[in-house]
Structures are given as structure tokens and as C-alpha cells.
């Protein structure tokens, strides 16, 4: 099957993720959307790697996963501590600092 379609899919996923970041309030969900975007990138990498017939893309995909995992660790830590002190995971509630 035509790998280009995978690119379209990747772009689609990426856009969905981005949209999610923009419209969802819950920090966890927003964060999930970011993960989605990362995975879209992975898909793109793999697809390209396939097209070019070299392995770089696939290796990069592994790196991305590791990074994503690390991000989860850090991110959740932060979000949870925020949740515990505010009893709300809404991104919009965290707006003490403005102007």
C-alpha cells in the first residue's frame, strides 16, 4: 500500500492532537493530545524511513518513545502536584499570572 497515505494519516493525527491541545481544558487530556502528536510524528518517521529505505526514521521513532515516556513522568508529576494543591486539573483554572 502507498506509504504516502501514512503521511496523510500522520498529518491528520497531528492536527487532531493539536486541536485537542487547543480545545480541551483538562490538563491530562491536553497532555494526552501532545502524546498523540508525538505518535503522529513517529508514524511519519516510519513512513519516510520506509520510503527512503534507510533505518534512521525507525530509530528516531524509538528515541521519540523514550522521550515521550520521560515527558509522561515529568508531566504527570507536575500535573498531579498541581491537582493536589488546587483540586482541579483544569488548565484554565491555572491563571494566577496574567497581563
Amino acid at each position: 500500500m502507498n506509504p504516502v497515505n501514512y503521511l496523510y494519516l500522520a498529518a491528520l493525527l497531528f492536527t487532531i492532537g493539536a486541536a485537542g491541545v487547543l480545545i480541551r481544558r483538562n490538563a491530562i487530556v491536553v497532555f494526552m493530545c501532545v502524546e498523540l502528536m508525538l505518535n503522529a510524528c513517529n508514524l511519519a518517521f516510519v513512513a519516510f524511513s520506509r520510503m527512503h529505505g534507510n533505518l534512521d526514521g525507525q530509530i528516531i521513532a524509538f528515541f521519540t518513545m523514550v522521550v515521550a515516556a520521560a515527558e509522561v513522568v515529568v508531566g504527570l508529576a507536575i500535573i498531579v502536584s498541581l491537582f493536589r494543591s488546587r483540586h482541579s486539573a483544569s488548565v484554565d483554572d491555572a491563571s494566577l499570572m496574567k497581563l
Binding site: 497531528f14 497532555f31 501532545v34 510524528c41 519516510f48 528516531i60 508529576a77 502536584s81 498541581l82 493536589r84
Partner: protein, 551 residues
């Protein structure tokens, strides 16, 4: 793409060499010493957290960190002395990392800046001791809910977040690699390596913890968001060039590749990939730089984060990010100059003006400095656009000058305190000059440097950058630059007026007498500011020697 093409792809893919042929990577440890030292120290730091008894941790960590940074700096100097900055420059670690002038210069800058800002991390004389324990600017136990019994207990027990030291070391590791990254993957990894610790560092302020956590969340979410863009951009560029190595990309972009297989030929035909990808990568870097319109995290994060961290971020991050930006534009995408230059023009202009204008009405000193840092990002971009060796060296010099002024300024901010910790609201600073002329004078020096008044490093840097821009044919940019500096001058002056010409308020803040640590930080800051202002020649030479990228 037509079916036949796909088929041919398929077949070529089938003819990949067997894996056994992959050469074992060999690493030039010597050339990578600075990075390795720091990362090693970071790992050690983790172990220290695990095994060294709590009482001793602070000193152990401080010692470890200082030594590590000093050693790393020594290594950088050694490499530079070994000519790696100029003649010997090479690409190490299988093409992942470049060891050349800009890399070494920026690594040196980052290390020095980190060293002095680590001192402010370790400062524990500003607040009165609680329950007989000296306290620094970091939460007793970051995990504890603000205001909870748990937290009180932690404070009573005299816990301190000594983890900040290994964290900062990890961040520095990433920053050292970032400007040296010679392929997009390394770029991305380095970005994450220094971003993640910073997210955490933002969250661990001792006072105003809610704001601190909020800052962390905002920084984290937006940071992750932007790195996702960056990654996707990498993906696209990879798709275009079939490789992530800068050299390779550059060749492909310039169409000077020796062997073109059909797949590459096919993707090469599709410039959209390259342009969109390049734009996305650019965006990821501009986010770290804090350029309009990707700047909006800056004020909030700078305000919320613990001030020492803010100072560190403001200085080191900018240095690293601009380093990476320079390398990307000058090494990977020079062939695209005609495309990105106009865009960068626009961004530079809005950044300069935007930062300066919005800063006028700020009322919080940390936010003010945040906006000023945005404006400065604009000035530096003017130098980046020059696309000449002078441009590179001027940017290097500006970064050096700027980072020390910034760290010094934020260090002074930590000194001005009232009951609620640092008194960052401008109204509190009224009449500071009458209460403690020395501190006010020092801060005035930093402000004047920010404003780019002659005889300070700020002026030398600004002049270098504008000169490079003008010679690069960006005269209009220079005019916009001077106009926005005029606007910017206004709010720096405002602070000086506040400190010196308005009567001190009776319930005004007090100025804490810091330990030698912070004094060193501020002292070094002032010294560098004045030296670079009066006799910048030596450092300009350094920068111009270092101004050539390896490729």
C-alpha cells in the same frame, strides 16, 4: 507518487545491507569531555540524593556541581586551546555532535553562566532560618501540598530540595549538546534533556508555590506542544532529505548530493516538505528563544519560577537555543536563506517592538525583565539574520554579554524581600536607592546595560549586532532596532526613577544581606558588564575566531 515508483521503493528497500555491516560507533571522549563531565556529575548527584545523609547533601551537591561545572569549563578551555575552536574543528560521535568554534564558545558561556547562577541556587541566607534550619529558595518538599500539615512537617524537619542540583546539571547537559547538535535527532533529544529538568525546577519554589506550579504546568504543556511541532518538522525534513544529519540536509537542499536514488529524487522534488518542516523546526527553536508570537509563556514562567531558576533559564536557555538556531540556519539550511530571511525579518521586528512596548506597562519586576528578554531576543535575531561571519560572532558576543547581565539582575531581585518573600511588585522598589544605594546602583548598572547605554556590555553587544545587520544589508532592521531600544529605554529608566527619585515607602521591603555566594554572582555580573563595555576587544576577537561552523 505512482504505483511503479512505490514498487521501485519497495525493491530498493529490500536491498538494504545486512545489519552486520553496521560499523561500531566510536566516540571521541576527549572532545565530548565537557558534556560527559556534567552528565556524569548529574548521575553522581542522583546517587548522592540516594545515599548521602540529608544534613550533608547540600554541601556535597554544591561541591559536586561547582567542581563539575568548573572542570567542564576547564575542558572547554582545553579544547579551545587545542585549536578545536578553529583549525582542529571536527564532528564527533558519528556526526551527532560538532566540536567547533561556536559550539565551544557557547558551551563555555553556558558553563560560566550556570556556575554563577548555581551560586544563587545555593543561597540560603536571604530568609531568616526556620526552626533553626537555613532555608533556600526551594520548597522543603515539592511533593507536599502547599499549606498542608505535611509541608509544615517538612519545613520543621528542615528538609531541602537538594535535587535541584542534579536537575540543573542535567539541564546544563542538554544545553551543552543543544548548540553542538549536528543532526536533528540530537537536536531534539538535547532539547528534551534540558527542557524536562527545567519544567521541574520551575515547580519547586518555596514561596508562592501555587504560582510556581502554575508556571511549571504552563511551561510544560506549551513546551511539549512546541517540541511536538519541532519533532514533526524534523520528520518532514527527514522525509525530504532522507537523513537528519545537517551536512546531508544542506547538500540535498543545495542539490549537491552525489548519489540520488529515485526515492530521494522524488521527495527532493517536493519542496513543501522542506519548507513546512523547516518552518516547524524554526518554530520549535523560536519558542525556546522566546520570540513573538511564541513568547507568551515567558512572562508567566519567569514570574512564577523561583528567581534563581528564572535567572538561569533566562540566560542559559537563550544561549543554547540561539546556538542551535544559528547552527540550523547556517549549517543545515543555508540554501534556504532566501526563504527564511524575510520571515525572520518579520519575526525580529515584531519581537523587538512587541517586547519593548508591552514592557512599558508592567508592574512586576520579574515580568518586566521577562519582556525585556523578549525584546533582546529580537535584537539578537537581527544579528542572526545578517548571514555573515560578523553576524555569527556578534550574536555570540551578545549572548555572552546578555547572559551575565540577566543573571546579575535576577540575583539582585532575590535580595529585595519583604514578609511574603521577594518583593517583586515595582511599587515596592520605590526609594530603594535611598535605603541601600549600593544594591540600587548595581541594579541600575544592569538596567543601563539592558538599555544599551554606552560603556556597558549591553551597548557593545547591541552595536555589534546592529553593525552586523547593517553590513548584512538589513539597515531598516537597524532603524526599527534603535526605535524599539528608545521605547525600551523608557521602562528601564522608569525603574531607576522609582529607585532613586521617589521617596521610600515606610512599609517598603528590606534588602537582605546575602552570603558570599550571591555576592559573587552579582559581582561577576557587574564585572563582566563593565569589562565588556569598556574593553570588549578581547572577547570580540574570541567571538570572531569562534565564528565559523564546522560542516
Amino acid at each position: 507518487m505512482s504505483a511503479t515508483a512505490v514498487h521501485s521503493l519497495w525493491t530498493t528497500a529490500a536491498e538494504v545491507e545486512p545489519l552486520g555491516k553496521i560499523p561500531t560507533p566510536h566516540i571521541e571522549y576527549a572532545q565530548l569531555a565537557p558534556v560527559l563531565i556534567v552528565v556524569g556529575a548529574a548521575v553522581l548527584g542522583i546517587l548522592v540524593e540516594a545515599f548521602v545523609p540529608r544534613r550533608a547533601r547540600y554541601y556535597t551537591q554544591l561541591f559536586l556541581t561547582t567542581v563539575a561545572l568548573a572542570a567542564a569549563f576547564a575542558a572547554v578551555v582545553g579544547l579551545a586551546a587545542g585549536g578545536y575552536g578553529t583549525t582542529e574543528k571536527q564532528i564527533a560521535a558519528m556526526g551527532a555532535i560538532a566540536v567547533d568554534g561556536p559550539a565551544l564558545f557557547l558551551q563555555g558561556t553556558i558553563l560560566l553562566a550556570s556556575l554563577v547562577s548555581v551560586f544563587t541556587f545555593a543561597e540560603r541566607r536571604l530568609d531568616p532560618a526556620a526552626h533553626g534550619n537555613r532555608i533556600d529558595s526551594f520548597a522543603a518538599e515539592a511533593a507536599a501540598v502547599p499549606g498542608s500539615e505535611h509541608e509544615k512537617a517538612a519545613v520543621k524537619a528542615g528538609f531541602t530540595t537538594t535535587e535541584v542540583f542534579p536537575l540543573v546539571l542535567f539541564a546544563i547537559t542538554g544545553m551543552l549538546v543543544f548548540p553542538a547538535a549536528n543532526d536533528l535527532l540530537t537536536l531534539f533529544i538535547a532539547l528534551e534533556v534540558f527542557s524536562l529538568p527545567l519544567y521541574l525546577l520551575c515547580a519547586v519554589a518555596r514561596r508562592k508555590r501555587l504560582m510556581s506550579q502554575e508556571a511549571a504546568v504552563k511551561y510544560f504543556l506549551l513546551g511539549a506542544f512546541s517540541s511536538a511541532f519541532l519533532l514533526f518538522g524534523i520528520a518532514l525534513v527527514y522525509g525530504y532529505a532522507g537523513s537528519v544529519s545537517y551536512a546531508r540536509i544542506a547538500d540535498v537542499v543545495e542539490g549537491s548530493v552525489r548519489t540520488i536514488d529515485p526515492a530521494l529524487a522524488d521527495t527532493m522534488g517536493n519542496d513543501a516538505l522542506l519548507l513546512i518542516g523547516g518552518a516547524l523546526i524554526l518554530m520549535g527553536l523560536l519558542f525556546k528563544v522566546g520570540a513573538v508570537p511564541f513568547h507568551m509563556w515567558t512572562p508567566d514562567v519567569y514570574q512564577g519560577a523561583p528567581t534563581p531558576v528564572t535567572g538561569f533559564m533566562a540566560a542559559a536557555t537563550k544561549v543554547a537555543a540561539f546556538g542551535a538556531l544559528l547552527r540550523l540556519l547556517y549549517v543545515a539550511l543555508p540554501g534556504l536563506a532566501w526563504d527564511w530571511q524575510p520571515v525572520m525579518w518579520a519575526i525580529a521586528i515584531v519581537t523587538m517592538l512587541g517586547g519593548a512596548i508591552v514592557a512599558i506597562t508592567q508592574t512586576d519586576i520579574k515580568r518586566l525583565l521577562a519582556y525585556s528578554s523578549i525584546a533582546h531576543a529580537g535584537f539578537i535575531l537581527a544579528g542572526v539574520i545578517a548571514t555573515t561571519p560578523e553576524g555569527i560572532s556578534s550574536v555570540l558576543f551578545y549572548l555572552l554579554a546578555y547572559s551575565f547581565v540577566t543573571i546579575g539582575a535576577f540575583a539582585v531581585v532575590t535580595l529585595v524581600r519583604d514578609a511574603g518573600g521577594e518583593a517583586t511588585h515595582l511599587s515596592k522598589w520605590a526609594g530603594l536607592g535611598r535605603r541601600s544605594p549600593l544594591v540600587a546602583a548595581v541594579f541600575a548598572v544592569f538596567l543601563l546595560a539592558f538599555a544599551g547605554i554606552p560603556l556597558t556590555s549591553g551597548f557593545a553587544g547591541k552595536f555589534a549586532v546592529f553593525k552586523a545587520a547593517a553590513e548584512g544589508g538589513a539597515g531598516a532592521l537597524v532603524v526599527v532596532g534603535v526605535i524599539s531600544s528608545a521605547i525600551a529605554a523608557f521602562f528601564y529608566i522608569r525603574v531607576i526613577v522609582l529607585m532613586f527619585f521617589s521617596e521610600p515607602k515606610p512599609e517598603g521591603p528590606t534588602v537582605a544581606v546575602p552570603s558570599p555566594l550571591t555576592m559573587t554572582t552579582i559581582g561577576v555580573g557587574v564585572a563582566v558588564t563593565l569589562v565588556l563595555g569598556l574593553a570588549p576587544q578581547y572577547f570580540l576577537d574570541l567571538a570572531s575566531q569562534a565564528g565559523v561552523f564546522v560542516r
